[in-house]
Structures are given as C-alpha cells and as structure tokens.
C-alpha cells in the first residue's frame, strides 16, 4: 500500500460528532465536572476538609471548659494547619504543570508530580479521614457525656482503630489509582525513550523519586513523632 493510500483513506475519515458554538459554550460552562476527576480536585477537596476540621476543633476548644481537652483540640488543630500548608504547597506544584509543553516534557512533569508530591499528598489526604473520624469521636463523647475522660479516651484502642481503618481505606484505594496512572505514564515515557535512544529522562526521574522518597519518610516520621509527642503530653497532663 502506498503512502497516498493511507492519506486518502484518512481524508475520508470524518469525526462522528461536530459541535456548534452553542454546544461549545455549554461544555465550557460545565467545567466543574472535569475538575471533579482531576488530582487538583482531590487536593482542593482536602484543603476544604482540613479547614472544616480545624474550625470544628477550634470551636470545641472555645466551647469546652476542660483544659486538657482544649490543649488536645488546639494541638490537633495546629497539626492540621501544618498539614494544610503542606497540601497548599502541593497544590501550587500541581498548578505549575504546563499542559502546553511537549508530550515528553508533560509526561516527565506528571510522572515527577505523581511519584513525588502527589504520593506524599496521599498520606496527608488520608490523614484527613483519620482526623475527621477522631474529631467526630470527640464530638460524640462531648455531646453524649457533656465532658470527656481524656485518659480513658486516649487509651481506648477503638478510638484509634476506626480512624486507622479510615486512613487505610482512603490511602490504599487512592494509591491504586495513582499506581495505574504511573504505570501508564512510565510506559509512554519508555516509548519516547525508545525513539530518543536515551535513558536520560528515566535517570532524572529516578533521582527525583529517590529524593521524594526521602522527603516522604521525613514527613511520615514527623507526623508519627508529632502524634506520639501529643499523646505523651496529654497523658502527663
């Protein structure tokens, strides 16, 4: 088959749908539907949820007359605020991905983001669920018993079990989605490297991955030791 043939066949191919300016206008206005599917939506959603949790905890601290409870809620609120700032920083990295770059550049940027900052984000995103359930339990105790025996509350394994389950479900379900995206993008990157006869981009990405892995370990350690420290202080109080 000659070159001309493929081109002549292609010239006959007409897309099955055409849109009028009115339809284009309708589609453009429905952009929230697209936003809902993006990683950007997840990040924004998390920022909103963290803000709600912080507000709920601060409100509890204001309304409560129990000093130890005030310290607990304000400490968790402060911790959540730090998480919120980190997530906001991740959002600005997401926004900096330029979709108008070349395909190679775009895949590289997305891979770096997904492998690095977005993976870190998933920890903070799942922690929101942990904090949400934990805060819910505190509210439940206050509403039901008017006050809260913090020592009994913090040493009850069930108070941790459900938040941990909430964390795990959220983390692993999202992680699977991201893992698949990373696999697809890595395949595309390898396809490009086969053309370019170069492993340079993979090398750069691997270096970045190592760096991000270290950062992630530091973040997890900070969260863990922060929470342990918090519990210890409360137990001493």
């Amino acid at each position: 088959m000659e070159k001309q043939d493929i081109h002549s066949i292609w010239d006959q191919a007409k897309p099955a749908a055409e849109y009028s300016p009115a339809q284009i206008n309708t589609y453009r206005k429905k952009q929230y539907r697209q936003v809902k599917r993006s990683q950007g939506f997840l990040i924004i959603f998390d920022i909103i949820m963290k803000s709600i949790i912080i507000a709920a905890l601060v409100l509890l601290a204001i309304l409560s007359e129990q000093k130890d409870l005030q310290i607990l809620t304000l400490s968790i609120a402060a911790l959540s605020l730090i998480f919120l700032v980190i997530v906001a920083n991740i959002h600005s990295s997401y926004k900096s991905i330029n979709i108008g770059n070349s395909i190679m550049e775009n895949i590289k940027e997305r891979l770096l983001f997904l492998e690095g900052k977005f993976n870190t984000f998933l920890i903070f995103y799942s922690l929101t669920n942990f904090l949400l359930v934990f805060t819910g339990f505190i509210y439940y105790q206050i509403i039901k018993y008017d006050n809260i025996d913090l020592v009994a509350f913090l040493t009850d394994p069930f108070m941790y079990l459900f938040p941990i389950v909430a964390f795990a479900i959220s983390y692993f379900s999202q992680h699977q989605v991201v893992k698949q995206q990373i696999t697809d993008l890595t395949e595309a990157m390898h396809e490009l490297e086969d053309m370019d006869n170069s492993k340079y981009h993979s090398y750069i990405i691997n270096k970045q991955k190592e760096k991000q892995f270290r950062n992630r370990l530091i973040a997890i350690s900070l969260i863990f030791f922060g929470l342990v420290f918090l519990v210890l202080i409360l137990l001493i109080l």
Binding site: A13, P15, A16, A17, I99, S102, N197
Partner: protein
C-alpha cells in the same frame, strides 16, 4: 495571547474542532468517551490559553494540549472513583456520518487503535500532514527520530490494513 472573551474562545474551538475531534477519535472508542475527552481538552485549552505566548502556531499548541490531555489524563478518568458519566447532547452524535464511513476508514482507525499512545500521536500528526519539525516540537523528540518513527509506523499501518483488506 491576549485575554480572549468567551465568544472569541468558542470561535477558536469551533474553528479547530475537527483537529480536536480527530484526537478524540483515535484515543477513544465509545462516543461517550469521545465527548468526555473533547470536553476535557476544551477546558484545558480554556485554562491554558492565558499562558499561550504565541511562541508556536496556535494549531501546534492545540495539538500539544489535546494530545497531552489524551495521553496523560484520559485513562485516569475511567479508573477514578470520582468518575461521573455525563449524558451527551443528542445532537452531538451523527449516525449518518458514522454509517457513511467506509470499510477502509474503519480498518485504518482499527489499525491506529492497535498502536501505543505515543505512536498514535505521531500517526495522527503524520496523517494530518504536519511537517516533521512541527511533529518533533509537539512530541519533544528530534526531527531525525520523528522520520525514523514515521517510516516504521507507515510500514506497520500498511501491514495491518493490507492484512485486513485481504490483500
């Protein structure tokens, strides 16, 4: 690029919709997915138009945004827990046009569907008769690599088509 009004943007999309629709046609099988991808490309164009500085041709930039959306963003939607399938406007599907597409066209689309995502992009740009330097600019590889890849792709597509046509 200067800030476009909504009307001007709609006009840009209207004038370039065939280009976008062809991207949707080679990366999606169902009409629902094609519409979904079309919408996503359009929104990315809308968001990105403010950062378009006119360093490349508008069509080159539209190809970049369209292909990046299709390659980097399309699969995630299918697997995302946040997926929301939207009913399409009835008039967006034209069964007559679909029915009129002859066997050769269907075979060509089938052959393209068997390619990997990046090869699909190169095949599309080649079939759209874009220059090698423009293809290189869109994909991000050298012109030499583009020409080598196109030779291989042509061979591959021709083999599939010839086989399908029973030649």
């Amino acid at each position: 690029m200067k800030n476009l009004t909504d009307k001007e943007f709609e006009q840009v999309i209207f004038e370039n919709q065939l280009l976008i629709l062809k991207i949707c046609s080679i990366y999606c099988e169902s009409q629902a997915d094609k519409d979904d991808l079309f919408q996503e490309i359009m929104i990315n164009l809308w968001k990105g138009l403010r950062s378009y500085r006119g360093e490349s041709k508008l069509s080159t930039w539209i190809y970049r945004v369209g292909l990046n959306t299709a390659i980097s963003g399309f699969k995630k939607r299918k697997r995302s827990p946040f997926i929301q399938t939207e009913e399409l406007p009835e008039h967006s599907i034209d069964p007559k046009l679909q029915a009129n597409q002859n066997e050769e066209v269907k075979i060509l689309y089938h052959a393209i569907s068997m390619l990997k995502p990046i090869d699909k992009a190169i095949a599309l740009l080649y079939l759209e008769e874009r220059k090698y330097d423009e293809i290189a600019e869109i994909i991000g590889i050298s012109e030499k690599n583009v020409s080598v890849r196109i030779v291989r792709l042509k061979k591959k597509l021709e083999q599939i088509i010839t086989k399908q046509l029973g030649g």
